[in-house]
Symmetry: C2
Subunit: 465 residues, 2 copies
Amino acid sequence: MLVENRGDGNIKSIILAGGSGTRLWPLSREHYPKQFLKLGKTSLFQNTFKRCLEISDIRDVFVVTNGSQKFFVSGQIKELGYDIPRENLLIEPKGNNTLPAICFGMQEIEKRYGKSTVGVFSSDHILDRSAMETIAGAEALVCDNLVTFGIVPRSPHTGYGYIKPAQALGPGYRVSEFIEKPALDNAKKYVKEGCLWNSGMFMFDTDIFFAELQAHEPSVFGAFQASDDIDEVYNNVPAVSIDYGIMEKSNRVAVVRLDEKWSDLGNFDAMYDEFEKDGYGNVVYGCDNVLIGSAGNLVYSKPNKLVSFIDVNEMVVVDTPDALLVCPRSSSQKVKDIVAALKNKDDERAYLHTTVYRPWGSYTILENSQRHKIKNITVMPDKRLSLQLHHHRSEHWVVVKGMACVHVDGKEFFLRPGESTFIRSGIKHRLSNPGKLQLEIIEVQLGDNVDEDDIIRFDDEYGRV
Amino acid sequence: MLVENRGDGNIKSIILAGGSGTRLWPLSREHYPKQFLKLGKTSLFQNTFKRCLEISDIRDVFVVTNGSQKFFVSGQIKELGYDIPRENLLIEPKGNNTLPAICFGMQEIEKRYGKSTVGVFSSDHILDRSAMETIAGAEALVCDNLVTFGIVPRSPHTGYGYIKPAQALGPGYRVSEFIEKPALDNAKKYVKEGCLWNSGMFMFDTDIFFAELQAHEPSVFGAFQASDDIDEVYNNVPAVSIDYGIMEKSNRVAVVRLDEKWSDLGNFDAMYDEFEKDGYGNVVYGCDNVLIGSAGNLVYSKPNKLVSFIDVNEMVVVDTPDALLVCPRSSSQKVKDIVAALKNKDDERAYLHTTVYRPWGSYTILENSQRHKIKNITVMPDKRLSLQLHHHRSEHWVVVKGMACVHVDGKEFFLRPGESTFIRSGIKHRLSNPGKLQLEIIEVQLGDNVDEDDIIRFDDEYGRV
């Protein structure tokens, strides 16, 4: 059953979905970040969206994202059976840390509704839906406070910041201190003292938020005041986090305790914690396996691959078609060093998967040489690719599943599974899926040059001409 | 320069090439064993073959192999620019350990030449070619002795058997004892005492060999005497090793010392020892890599894959398209346990690679689902596949490289790169390579059933009808 309106209409939601999480590389990459990964049936983003519907009307959920991720956002919402108004997708011209992203959302909401109460949520965290009741209860505090949410710690985690609560204040506490990620000894002390993990979720009243923003981070406030053009705003706004920009400076901050399962899945060790283990404490995700004398590992590979371990303990092994990561679980936080090394070498595996997502669907590169490339292409129902032409390659298309409508050199025809066509280089062509089911084709490209950039687009529904 | 005749004509050679080395799984598998793997420009088998030409005329080199590997043997010899007579390929009906295999070769040689001197060589060892001079010198001992070769140990290796030499005897020594693979303490003692590694190479006079065989292993001798039909012989011959059957029992055994680089590449740790290391003692084979804080590892993957390590030490990571192995180098000898576990589960990855070798070339499975399969097929010059038919699948062929001659439903035509054809299910067809270069095609199979066994062969050059 789809519930279109479950909020009380008072609380609006902002979901921050522009992150480029490289801490789960090679599983997540810049062009397919963690929040959109499906580790269960639904992605972290989808789970966040559903949580927001517990407190907000669907028309009052705003998603701040970027140009390359907006298709994930709308696609994954559609997959849940929902539709949000296009104007609720707020596209940042560039990533600039959390404060500008939140301002963007707060400003839109104030413009549209005037003074409002707004929940702010990261899209790449794990959180039980039951937490939303406590979160909604924080509304009682927002007329006087900037509210943050603190998780009751399960362990002296050194990967999270801590919040020290002071005297009780309605359903929460005054905040006495924000503490940066501590060393283990200090973390133990903070846990003992009743400190909370800083979850990065908030609830704000628009008036209080902008007043505190003007007081503590006038450059951000000024940039948003100065123009209605978001490109211009982002040219002038500094990159700053909400914690550093406002929360740590304001003396009107309250924290509400959440005694719930929560994780930011900040690295593979955190991911290990969240998944079901076998009798030897191994988390095996997605693949066949033979594990001999091996315990406490996180193993990820594709369904048809066999992963075999002998005497391997407490390791992370993440195998994707084009990149393999091996490290001790305790070194998981250094994965960003691999990504940095790849960026340094201009290796596109830092950003891209072999499966590349497009507004119309996706393609996976099965084989690639200088003179030929083989792709498995999936086109979503009712979508079509641009009308295009390649100078240096011909293409053979074989339909594997679904119904294709093919336009070649002015003629249009249908192809069913088992049927195929050939598109000579230099000929205008277009592929579309007129059906109600996914279309899957195998494309064999041949030519002097099979690079992605040998493409001239004549007409495109996604503005890429 | 190809040297067709370099031996003095006196020494014949037997190469044992029927092994199914699973100790380097998933790199080598039963259907593509270690001796045919190309870790350098040439395989271990090819290197062995070239070494034999140092002591034998090419017409006097015999290879004992099996039905599924004979195409590797002839193909790899051809690749070196040589041709051996078809009757020098001795096909065992089944694997039965080393003694029957050696008898098979010794009997053939005796039938053809009468009393002869014969060198016996494993095809899956590393040995410098310079050793052949010392080996040829052992001829002086064969008229009175069964000669074995002992390697001067480089370390107290526990993976090899040891041979204890007694008093000098011409260019060698009388053998006082054969010692099984020892524990480390004993191995150290043996090295100190001047014992040698048992290399599994021999030199025999046919007369002495059969006399000792009759004396010590009459069941094997009898099985070979009883019939000229090799299938019948192998129905009756017991599986027994040359060491256990004769060498350890005879008192006419001499050993010749070889002070040469040698290895049986018996596991990944031995393979690690043989390859060039980077500044941190990592052996990286075949793949891109980013190794951070990692030392002493053996890494193998395919050329387009990126392998990244953080804080990984003394490990073996072998990544193939369908199977990944991770283990400490010191656990390398347990790889056979993985293979055993797979055989137990009837998992064909125990035997087969995604690249499957056929007498006409090979194919690699790029993608496989219930209703479609994509293969990259390579056909060697002048070879053709069987005339065949599939009931449940249609096939699309796109030529990527070379020239194809295609026979479909009685018609024959040529396809050049970029050209394609379609073969409906139920239609007889045949693919051949009429050219002088390799033919490479992409095949997309579609149907209710895309299993390999949906094939009816009408005509086949390799006897598979």
